[in-house]
């Protein structure tokens, strides 16, 4: 049997998570584009409309999960790309933790924004 090529180390937890988030994002990103460009149109966006959607618990939960999975998938993808380019040693460690910090900032800011729309006091 021929060896299957993959740019990732097959079998690892991060490898699997990258694929599980990919499958989830395929569905949610398509839904996001469809809802916000085809059902509602970009030039009709308003705080009131965004707030109305985010006040629904199911939509709020889906968007938070969307934010977390997209951040993980994107940042882990960047990290894997850099490792493929030959990133090693101290540089690799520094970049890894910089990406972790950037992800944390992105998620916190995204949750604050969702909370502001949903009318949750914590923002």
């Amino acid at each position: 049997m021929a060896e299957r090529y993959s740019s990732f180390k097959s079998g690892g937890r991060m490898w699997l998570l990258q694929r599980v988030t990919a499958a989830f994002l395929l569905v949610v990103l398509a839904f996001h584009f469809f809802l916000l460009h085809f059902v509602h149109h970009a030039d009709e966006v308003s705080f009131l409309a965004s707030s109305g959607r985010m006040e629904s618990l199911s939509y709020y939960s889906l968007m938070i999960l969307f934010l977390v999975t997209a951040t993980f998938h994107g940042v882990n993808g960047v990290y894997n790309a850099l490792v493929n380019q030959g990133l090693t040693g101290t540089k690799r460690t520094v970049i890894k933790w910089t990406l972790v910090a950037a992800s944390a900032v992105l998620i916190v800011q995204g949750v604050r924004t969702a909370n502001a729309w949903a009318g949750i006091g914590l923002y």
């Binding site: 308003s46 992105l106 502001a116």
Partner: protein, 141 residues
């Protein structure tokens, strides 16, 4: 019997004339991935105007005079932003279709037709993008 390949340094783009479909798919997937993660940070930054907007008076929010609505309306009134959104759609659609192809190949499905499925991803991306242009551009003029 397992078989290994010496793929050389695939990051050496000066070899681009030798690249086959799978290599182009790999490059496009990486490029679109970089664009999408860059956009995600920008997207959240723009949407964050919702935080100060939540403190606006109810009258301002009802009238669409809060900073979030004003920011989005101003951006969406620019033709350049609309065109960039079409580009974003193309990038996202390709990444999704090629990502599906990669997931299937990882599951052992379609490896023999991986070049054909790459071309199909490209054609479908083009078709979906072109079909979406009227919706994305509506109201920009």
């Amino acid at each position: 019997m397992s078989q290994s390949y010496n793929r050389g340094l695939i990051e050496d783009f000066s070899r681009w004339r030798e690249f086959e479909a799978g290599m182009w798919a790999w490059i496009f997937h990486k490029f679109t991935g970089w664009v999408l993660i860059g956009y995600l940070f920008t997207h959240i930054a723009v949407l964050s105007t919702g935080i100060p907007a939540a403190g606006a008076s109810e009258a301002a929010i009802m009238a669409g005079e809060d900073v979030y609505t004003q920011t989005i309306v101003s951006l969406e009134s620019l033709l350049l932003v609309r065109l960039l959104e079409v580009g974003l759609l193309a990038v996202a659609v390709f990444h999704m279709l090629n990502g599906t192809r990669l997931l299937l190949v990882d599951l052992g499905v379609g490896l023999d037709a991986q070049d054909k499925s790459f071309y199909a991803s490209l054609i479908l991306t083009g078709a979906i993008t072109v079909a979406s242009v009227p919706t994305f551009i509506a109201g920009a003029f």
